[in-house]
Symmetry: C2
Subunit: 329 residues, 2 copies
């Protein structure tokens, strides 16, 4: 099985690559080749040096000819994780329209074309986001988001993700691909440095204090958020990718399970695990722009479809911090 | 005020042009220029010969440079009605992706660019469709569709319309355009000839018998549909276009009001208005493909937002037939 991961050098992409290489299979078929494409280079040598791995570096839209024109091995499965993040897209409309919309449009056309040429229906996973949800004056966001809640994206990033969900659904309905979409919750705790995502601080306020660095929290302590650990997110992606069409129950995006937690509770969990002094490195400095974006995301989910697939939220934020510390060790 | 109508030679486009020319204003501003673009020529001489009208014939995507490059007068308002219809898009995936998706993407970028160059925020109406609604195994279509019902498009046409709704909402949120979207119900009775739309017969089964011609009805008599007369549809379009943002209550598409009627009731109305013999020209010959598409559309609506704008359904199908006969006279 030949697998392509876009955004393959990103945090989730690399984590997914490691997991796939360790499993050695997907959907019961042996993994023979894994192509990772990203605009930055693969930083994990254990991934980059695996004999099954080919890495490709460059802008994804510009790279499509290289990735899909002869000679290339047809992809049996594609994980499309690459995206410009929410705050970037809010600042630069054209960037999001290119990196998130035009790129996905052309990627789907390429995957579909190669499938038709090779007589196969490639399995495709698209990573959507909780950012598709929002409210408008006439249609408030329900207190609990269910599988039939109407997405009303309030950011360009959310709009672009929601549009791509529709494209994947229609390519799938037409039989060009076997597409699956999951809406990822905010992943916490991401390792590394802050990025341009409005949700970046939801990793930073634990990650930075744990290394003795201060971190600014741009929202109030009572702000509730819907989080998932990296492990649980990768488990969700692989479960949705491997489920049968019957198990999926439809082409609409699956809301992955979420742990609902307030920022104050995250701070308390940090006290529990690492002590008072560490947690005091969180400094609250409200940023209206980020508070508005994050406050517009839903924080409570009833994800019945995900539950039918056996997916459940992380048990507690203390567990999530412990998982992060163990992964570093 | 300089207005552009895409699909301006189509049935609704021509009807809208006639209405605008007769009113002589939009949003309280005098209509000075009306540009009509369509891939076919304007057939109504009263429209084509009006001194305020300029007509342009050609594929819309190919025509954008001509319509938007100097010298041209900036458009204060655009009605984007042009589209490839549902059955066409189902048969030819590329056609719909080009005519409905790529064209709208590039049209919105052009309108937005000209607005920014001229320091104006053009008012834009986008005609979406009841075809955005549908059901999936895990999320059935509710018996009554409300303003917060989740669209689950089950055709490429519906997917493309729904995607364009999202684009208009985001361009509006960014302040590039002042966009408004209404989901049009199936328009009955359209004059002229059958077209490629799956809903074409919903005009044909009355229109053809009234001129003594037989017409095939591809669905069963008990099939319920949501209809609106041409007059009521144009009234809905103009009301949504002229409403203030506060009155609209959000950027999400407004479901226009619909008269729910079964095909049997339509047949009965034809008997009432034109007699038994005329109605016997309807021949029932089930077409699985069309029955599946039409049967997947919702037939009952509670359109609270439309009602707040003063929009109500047609009173009865008898009225709709009478309106059609009067328009021909």
């Amino acid at each position: 099985m030949n697998i392509l991961i876009t955004g393959g050098a990103g945090f989730l992409g690399t984590h997914l690559a490691r997991t796939l290489l360790a499993r050695g299979e997907l959907c019961g078929r042996t993994l023979t080749s894994l192509v990772l494409t990203d605009r930055v280079e693969q930083a994990d040598p254990a991934v980059g040096n695996d004999s099954r791995v080919t890495t490709h570096t460059g802008d994804l839209l510009d790279s499509l000819p290289t990735l899909f024109e002869p000679p290339f091995d047809a992809y049996d499965a594609v994980f499309h994780l690459a995206a410009a993040v929410s705050a970037e897209c809010e600042e630069d409309f054209s960037l999001g329209m290119r990196a998130n919309l035009a790129t996905t449009e052309q990627l789907l056309a390429r995957i579909s074309d190669q499938g038709q040429q090779q007589g196969l229906v490639p399995r495709v996973f698209f990573a959507s986001s909780v950012a598709v949800f929002g409210s408008e004056p006439d249609i408030p966001l329900p207190h609990i988001v269910t599988d039939s809640t109407l997405p009303l994206p309030q950011s360009s990033y959310g709009i672009q993700k929601f549009i791509c969900e529709q494209l994947v659904a229609d390519y799938t309905r037409k039989g060009f691909i076997d597409g699956r979409v999951a809406r990822l919750m905010t992943v916490s705790i991401r390792p590394g440095r802050p990025n341009g995502a409005a949700s970046s601080f939801l990793s930073g306020i634990v990650r930075e204090p744990l290394t003795g660095e201060p971190c600014v929290c741009p929202v109030s302590p009572e702000t509730e958020v819907a989080l998932a650990s990296p492990e649980n997110t990768i488990h969700g992606i692989l479960t949705v990718m491997q489920a049968s069409r019957d198990e999926l129950g439809g082409r609409t995006a699956v809301n992955l399970p979420a742990l609902t937690v307030s920022v104050a509770k995250m701070q308390q969990a940090l006290i529990d695990v690492a002590g008072d002094e560490t947690a005091q490195l969180i400094r609250f400095e409200p940023d209206e722009n980020i508070a508005r974006i994050v406050g517009g995301w839903p924080s409570r989910f009833e994800s019945a479809r995900a539950a039918r697939l056996g997916l459940i939220p992380d048990a507690s934020y203390d567990d999530i911090i412990q998982q992060y510390i163990n992964a570093l060790a």
